[in-house]
Amino acid sequence: MTELLEPRAMGRDLVRRDGVRKVRGTATYAFETPVESPAFCHPLQATVARGRITAVDTTAAEALDGVLAVVTHENAERLASTDDAELAVLQSPEVAFRGQPIGVVVAETSELARQAADLVRVTYDEQPHDSVLSADRGDLYAPEKVNPGYDTDTVQGDVDAELAASAVRVEQTYATAMVHNNPLEPHASTALWDAADGGKLTLWDSTQGVHPDRKAVCSLFGLDLERVQVVCPYVGGGFGSKGTPHANVVLVAMAARALPGRAVKLALTRQQMFTMAGYRTPTIQRMQLGADRDGRIRALALDVVEQTSRIKEFAEQTGVPARMMYTAAARRTTHRLAALDVPVPSWFRAPGECPGMFGPEVAMDELAHALGMDPVELRIRNEPDRDPETGQPWSSRHLVECLREGAERFGWAGRDPRPGVRREDGWLVGTGMASSVYPTMRQAQSTATVRFEDGRYVVEIGAADLGTGAWTVLPQIAADALDADVDDVEVRIGDTRYPIASVAGGSSGTNTWGSAIVEAARQFRGKFGRRPEDGDEAQGSVDQAATDDEHATYAFGAQFVEARVHADTGEVRVPRLLGVFACGRIVNPRTARSQFIGGMTMGLSMALHENSAWDARIGQVANHDLAEYHVTVNADVGDVQAHWIDEHDPYVNAMGIKGIGEIGIVGTAAAVVNAVFHATGVRVRHLPVTLDKILPGLP
């Protein structure tokens, strides 16, 4: 149990500190770093889905005036570590997926780099490829662990027996689509290799963590940490895809090292982001639910099939939330993977929870319908008083409060449960809901420095702001930890010059960095008291001893949706999204609201639009740009509301916060599907909900 900081600056509705720079466009993103006479890179990509490069002809490219280097596997430097096959680029002639980087051209201008890339001739020994995911494949395998280290399979009790004894059963298969993160700022970098004194690499990179990025680059190139500096004050969105470095970072560093003293710039094109920057695997979710007539769940089983790349395993933990969400007398979760000739999947906002709260939350709606029970009530009836997986008590769990307050605010009471019976001006109208959950995580390592400088407190930590608000909320935490006015606190982030900080991922950033700042402030006050002198400085780190292992720590939420489906065309509109969340204390309601509604709207996008259409004939995403890969646009959203309950959790950390970056996208898609069912009577179990899936079943 932690003594919670008294919130004075925390909880205030402060405007973003980086706001003026962002509305003017003067915030400098990685590619935009001003450097003297930069050169420009363009990646070369494999044009076969599997095979071996037999020849590379760079003559015509190198003959162009202004081309500075053409780096391929034939002349690229040998990396010190090739353990990560995604990052071990240009190390061999093997091709593992279409679009894999096979070289990089560097030229005086971006136009020339692109022209030269077109002139490189590559010959392949092409081999048959295999890129179709199916639950029927004979080569599905159980990974050792699922991301980031959860058990692959779990069993509690006798699922088959409980299922057989259940009065009502739902046995269905659900599927989520392959989706790409697509931050608006592409994966981009500026890099400079200064060869003097053994060499130093300065990398301005769009990353969710300068320190983890630096560590990866140092390992790849065999460089000591002090020989690499990573700088990233602003990130134009990441949603997980900038949480770990991808091949573009290796290419730009190779290009910089090939041209010592010359800064080089590389930005992936939007099309290249569909092969090199990670994505969420499609998932196939076989769900079994069995319950008594009173709605109590006896059996809950989720068997997940998904894909990974043949060269590198990433096992999305889709079955994990089903392990703790509701009570069940017996329970089973499994994960099986197909290793295919496809790009490498990776983190995408709420890996595990986002897809893993789709199938089960739609199944809960189907169960409620089969029981003739209100879906809110069904969830309340299966509320566990302890974590069903570990038996631990909850640090705090206010799902029921979220459900009740959400129902109240949305106007759920008196809802006619019959599907397909409400018609307004040619539109079928329905409502649906689902629960949300996200674990509260703290990373192991982060350190902050507090220094008194010119009458102000300066806090330094190598953290990242992806638009999440770190520039603004970390000063609020520091102010309360120092018992100082927030205007007297300056926080510096986004540079490996500052102390080590964990990745902005797993909704753990503010929790982890804030914990380090609180400890640094405690050290500072302990050493220098209330009247410090100029230059006084203290450091503090995340205190692992303070980590609570006795409790299950999660944030919860409930989302409510109104859907309208055109009775003739099947067009789906969602005029209302309403979420209520229990996420501990909210540090800044302004930036928090933006995170919640942003997550919910991305969930709407997943529900209705997002689908990387896989062309299995050639092994690539057919719709690899923003005209064909649809994301929610302004006219797709209506009234989007995020609310939260005043939750005090003394077990999570000194701030009493839980992390809010991901929970908003969890459950939304299920709530949309459930609302579409209520509107039309058509149950769409495969995302996205497009009108072709609705039309045949319209009343």
């Binding site: 405007v15 973003r16 980086d18 706001g19 003026v20 962002k22 509305v23 003017r24 466009g25 003067t26 400098t28 993103y29 590619f31 935009e32 001003p34 930069p38 420009f40 005036d65 202004g66 081309v67 030229a107 005086e108 201008t109 971006s110 136009e111 020339l112 022209q115 697509n182 931050p183 608006l184 592409p186 602003y234 990130v235 134009g236 969105g237 949603f239 930005a267 939007r270 992806l466 638009g467 999440t468 608000g469 930036t591 933006s594 995170q595 509604i597 942003g598 709207t601 991305m602 996008s605 740009d625 923003l626 005209a627 994301v631 929610t632 646009v633 302004n634 006219a635 959203v637 989007v640």
Partner: protein
């Protein structure tokens, strides 16, 4: 420019955020790359390079336009205003102030394009231009939620601040 084929070059004049530039450009160069890679003006952003995302929206000769779809050589004599040129340093355009007031962004990458697009929208509405959402084509369009959402839909926001962008544009429209 070192390393470029002179046969591909052309001379143009451009005014960007009030400053006149006389330039020799590669005829393949877009206005977006010209601003970002040669003039050091990175207020317009590159999100897709195909006119699909709106991040490079500016005011080109007074109208909102996508710089990634404009070849520099075909805009000799043009006047460009980026988000950074909408107000003098230390001040903000009412649209920019409204975006701050409503927290109408997170990562900020689409924001300069959203801001310029909104300035264009307000001007188009002032001039009575209808949109797909306009019910009565004979009446002056109003800044309803539907009108603003429709007109701002060429500007993608992956952080999905749309529910804040629309009221920000309406506030700025009312503040004129």
């Amino acid at each position: 420019m070192p390393g470029t084929d002179r046969a591909m070059d052309a001379d143009i004049r451009l005014r960007v955020d009030g400053e006149l530039h006389e330039l020799t450009v590669d005829t393949r160069t877009t206005l977006l790359d010209l601003l970002r890679e040669r003039l050091g003006n990175t207020s317009p952003k590159k999100g897709c390079d195909h006119g699909q995302c709106g991040a490079c929206t500016v005011l080109l000769d007074g109208e909102r336009a996508l710089l990634c779809l404009a070849l520099a050589v075909s805009h000799d004599g043009a006047e460009i205003t980026t988000a950074d040129g909408l107000a003098p340093e230390g001040e903000l355009h009412p649209v920019q102030q409204a975006f701050l007031d409503h927290d109408a962004f997170q990562c900020g990458y689409c924001t300069p394009g959203q801001v310029c697009s909104a300035v264009g929208v307000l001007s188009e509405v002032d001039r009575g231009w209808p949109s797909h959402a306009t019910r009565d084509l004979t009446a002056a369009p109003e800044l309803s939620t539907d009108e603003v959402s429709e007109r701002m839909s060429g500007n993608l926001c992956r952080c999905a601040a749309y529910a804040h962008i629309t009221p920000a544009v309406q506030q700025a429209g009312g503040a004129r």
